[in-house]
């Protein structure tokens, strides 16, 4: 594992790798959104290798090559819809659609979709975009639509913390009282199809992700440092709860092409990797026996790591000390 660290003079709240057209290509471009700065921005970064120095075989240089800074509020959600479209959600409640094929051009803006506290996360599954916010609203949009197609107002009594698409018509959200909810976007009702709870205590869930191949397996990161695995086919959905970190797990990401790896990052300043087959039948039966192996990818770096993303064998994460880490051979 080789680690490159660069201080970027802005606290980043989200980083996302640009999706590659083929899985063999090495990721070298990522997008990052900043927060709590006087002027926040969405920027694109490129990693270039220089072989100039004799002793160090490869020096990685992180180069910020495009920035879009006419944003109001903090960037709180960021996602690549495809390799040239980026969706960003801000704390003022705006959802922005960028075209990043040549430079970052604002293609469309949905304003004030969320009230107080703004948007907390966005997810995309072309052509759909979903955004969730602290007001408990869920907004469903399409890339080409000028207005949101559907607004589920007060879908949740508590702030929603994250959202993911399970299939093109099903989404899953987490909130601050520990509920994992599934929604069917085609159903006319404004209630979730299912509500699952990770524990009896009202511990906030901060993030959710679904397994790349086994779509019934979901992992959530909680405010108590636990990663909970859910099997949505079961009546009693939470299957396994693992204490991976000491403090809030801000993001969980399953690896898209090697699904036996789950990456987590936390307020305690570390990023870890869980290796397991995630075969929930086995896990539920054995209990402790087939516990995933936990290895440390970034050790406690002093301040919270807010977000991470993994693509191929590269991992990128950002922390509250205004630094971005890029780790090669993280898998």
């Amino acid at each position: 594992m080789s680690e490159s660290l660069i201080f970027v003079s802005q606290k980043m709240s989200r980083v996302r790798w640009k999706p590659n057209s083929t899985s063999l290509q090495k990721s070298s471009v990522f997008a990052a959104g900043s927060y709590e700065d006087t002027k926040n921005s969405v920027s694109l970064w490129e990693i270039t290798q220089t072989n100039k120095l004799k002793n160090n075989p490869e020096i990685k240089v992180l180069n910020r090559y495009i920035t879009f800074s006419s944003l109001a509020g903090d960037v709180s959600g960021l996602d690549y819809a495809d390799s040239s479209l980026i969706v960003a959600g801000t704390s003022c409640g705006d959802i922005l659609l960028f075209n990043s094929s040549e430079s970052l051009v604002l293609q469309h803006e949905w304003n004030r979709l969320h009230g107080r506290g703004g948007c907390t996360d966005v997810a995309t599954s072309l052509p759909g975009i979903v955004s969730v916010g602290e007001d408990g609203n869920i907004n469903l949009m399409r890339i080409e639509s000028k207005r949101p197609l559907r607004v589920i107002e007060h879908g949740d009594s508590c702030p929603i913390t994250s959202v993911r698409y399970l299939t093109s018509s099903e989404i899953v959200t987490t909130n601050t009282v520990g509920q994992l909810r599934m929604w069917d976007t085609r159903s006319p009702s404004d209630s979730p199809t299912r509500i699952m709870v990770s524990s009896d205590q009202l511990v906030a869930l901060r993030s959710v992700d679904h397994h790349a191949t086994q779509s019934h397996v979901l992992a959530t990161g909680g405010a108590d440092g636990c990663v909970t695995l859910f099997d949505i086919r079961k009546e009693c959905a939470p299957v396994n709860k693992l204490q991976v970190h000491d403090e809030d797990v801000w993001e969980v990401r399953f690896h898209k092409t090697s699904p036996s790896h789950l990456f987590t990052c936390s307020q305690d300043g570390s990023a870890r990797r869980l290796d397991s087959t995630f075969d929930l039948k086995v896990m539920a039966r054995d209990g402790g026996g087939s516990a995933p192996e936990v290895s440390e990818v970034v050790s406690k770096c002093g301040l919270s790591i807010n977000s991470l993303d993994v693509s191929g064998s590269s991992l990128v994460c950002c922390n509250d000390a205004e630094a971005i880490y890029v780790i090669e051979d993280a898998v």
Binding site: F7, S9, Q10, K11, E36, D37, T38, D74, S76, S91, R116, G117, G118, T120, E134, D135, G136, D156, S157, C158, P159, T161, T176, V177, G178, Q179, S191, P192, I195, V197, D200, Q201, L202, A204, A223, E247, D248, Q267, C301, G302, L303, S304, D320, A321, E322, A323
Partner: protein, 587 residues
């Protein structure tokens, strides 16, 4: 402190500071060993250097104001670098006598590139004849002044009058330069051995000068006079000598190479005398003199007075205090600790104007000194909570440092804000965290009144999943159970519903205002076909009914029609209950 480059300085140095505190915490006496301390010091220096380099690289393509600001920042950073590197040599490396000079020669070489510029300009002359360059002799002399004799010899060899075979003034000089002894501490040479060798060598230089070996070439004569430690010659070549601290190195090289750290002050006074004519005395000179005087207090004080930000004094004093150089005398120690606390707090204050720095400020305040908890508590109250995520981070910070009161007040503030905006679900989740039963009661009451008005429960998605948190407040428990009752009723589980209702009435957790509604629900159940309530239950219900009759307060809020309705319902219920009792006794 808010420009992109200074943000890098602040953040990177915070991480070094934090890991230093961790190291200190592991030791009992709060000191760190030399090797580690040197590592941290080098870390800090490399951060300053990289910021300086970055500023130098971004000097094109910016407008005038930014350029001026950059200029002053670069100046500040180079002063910081200079001061820190000298402090590292003198205070932290703890070198024995003799080795100090070697390090100082290196320090001079790295920080004062005038000589390198001269050499470069000589070598780059177009005709490829360096010796004809006007600066040639200046370059050679300056190299000798800085003690870089090998380079001086190389440059000298380029002169055409230098012929190896012929023994003349050039080869004589070359020999002298070659033979100058250098203290090889690591090969185990002892100080006295070195001193003898050096004195021999200098005597040789004096002899050759007296013999007139260099009379033909005045430039070589000047150089030889420097080698003999002749101080008057330094005034002749003062334009090459630089400041008094550069001259200090020259002076020590050719007068007292085995100097110890403690003698530096005396020697620097001599150099200052010699240098008095040209440059003005500035802030940097004050600070460097204090370093040579081995007076840590004075160094820190001078830095505070003359530098425009608190970064250097705060971090330098933290590093030096951790080295154990501060005397163990209890009273003085107390003063040192307080001073350091104040420095860190002042530094943290200077960062507070940029909201983005709040994590870093909190980190500094948490480690400033004996009053860190109080400072941190005051700061936490000032952090603006713009989102739920930030609030959670602040609460996590409070938890880590046992600031329970602040955490409670933050939760209360957020709960009240949610209530003002009528977001009952959010408010409830905050007040459960707070474990505040009176707020929970208030919220539960609000929800119940919504139900009473509309017949629909608000925030079902929250109430149904409260789990054990309902126990925070009695009213909340009632709300939860009442909702359960409705669920059971909807599922046609009338018997369970009936028992639940009875329990609600008997256990008296239901508020009096709600009893009429509960009574109505009872009526519904009693009209079902099957017998739900047995003898005992019916008697209990009857006694509840009697209690309700006696409580006239309930009727006060009702209007005339409502009162009449209520009395009629009570009447019906009494009849229904009596019938039920009869049925129950019979079956």
């Amino acid at each position: 402190m808010h420009t992109p480059v200074s943000r890098k300085l602040v953040n990177e140095s915070y991480l070094v500071f934090a890991s230093m505190q961790e190291q200190k915490a592991m030791q009992e006496d709060k000191t760190i060993n030399r090797a580690q301390l040197l590592k941290f010091s080098r870390n800090y220096r490399s951060i300053i250097r990289s910021c300086l380099l970055e500023l130098q690289n971004t000097s094109e393509g910016i407008d005038a104001d930014v350029a001026i600001h950059n200029e002053s920042q670069m100046q500040l950073y180079s002063i910081m670098d200079l001061v820190w590197s000298l402090c590292e040599i003198i205070f932290i490396e703890n070198l024995p006598g003799g080795v100090i000079l070697l390090r100082m020669v290196e320090w001079c070489k790295w920080n004062f590139p005038l000589v390198d510029d001269l050499v470069r300009s000589c070598m780059s002359s177009r005709d490829n004849l360096p010796y004809q360059h006007p600066e040639y002799w200046n370059a050679v002399t300056a190299l000798v002044l800085q003690g870089r004799l090998a380079e001086a010899r190389d440059l000298l060899k380029l002169h055409p009058e230098f012929q190896v075979q012929v023994y003349d003034s050039y080869s004589c000089m070359d020999e002298l330069l070659r033979k100058m002894p250098v203290f090889s501490y690591h090969q185990g040479q002892s100080i006295s051995e070195f001193e003898i060798k050096w004195q021999h060598w200098q005597a040789e230089c004096v002899k050759r000068l007296k013999d007139g070996d260099f009379d033909t070439k005045p430039e070589l004569k000047t150089i030889c006079r420097i080698l003999t430690g002749d101080n008057e010659v330094l005034t002749e070549v003062s334009h090459l000598c630089g400041n008094w601290y550069q001259m200090l190195v020259t002076y020590l090289l050719y007068n007292n190479p085995t100097t110890k750290v403690y003698d530096l002050y005396y020697h620097s006074q001599v150099c200052i005398q010699m240098c008095n004519s040209h440059s003005e005395w500035g802030a940097l000179d004050n600070i460097l003199l204090a370093v040579c005087a081995f007076d840590i207090d004075r160094v820190i004080r001078e830095c505070c007075e003359h530098l425009s930000n608190w970064w250097l004094p705060a971090h330098l004093s933290d590093l030096l205090n951790a080295s154990g150089l501060v005397p163990a005398d209890a009273e003085k120690n107390q003063v040192e600790i307080e001073l350091q606390e104040i420095l860190i707090v002042r530094f943290a204050e200077s960062l507070m104007s940029l909201e983005s720095y709040w994590n870093v400020v909190a980190g500094y305040l948490a480690n400033c000194g004996p009053l860190s908890q109080q400072y941190l508590a005051l700061f936490v109250q000032r952090i603006t909570l713009t989102s739920e995520k930030k609030a959670s981070k602040v609460l996590r910070l409070c938890e880590k440092h046992n600031l329970n009161d602040e955490a409670q007040s933050i939760c209360r503030q957020l709960c009240r804000q949610a209530l003002r905006e009528k977001r009952h679900g959010d408010a409830l989740s905050w007040c459960i965290k707070l474990k505040d039963s009176s707020l929970a009661m208030y919220i539960a009451d609000e929800m119940l009144s919504v139900y009473a008005k509309t017949g629909v429960f608000p925030n079902i998605d929250l109430i149904d999943y409260l789990g054990s948190s309902v126990l925070v407040s009695e009213r909340l428990t009632f709300l939860g159970k009442y909702r359960d009752f409705h669920k059971l009723h909807a599922n046609k589980e009338y018997k369970e519903a009936g028992y639940l209702l009875l329990n609600l009435l008997i256990s008296k957790i239901a508020p009096l205002e709600f009893w009429p509604s509960l009574i109505m629900d009872c009526l519904l159940l009693l009209s079902k076909e099957d017998l739900i309530y047995g003898v005992e239950e019916t008697t209990n219900l009857l006694s509840c009914l009697n209690t309700l009759d006696q409580k006239k307060k309930v009727l006060e809020k009702f209007s005339e029609t409502e009162k009449n309705n209520h009395l009629k319902r009570m009447q019906h219920l009494r009849v229904a209950l009596t019938n039920n009792l009869a049925k129950a006794i019979v079956s």
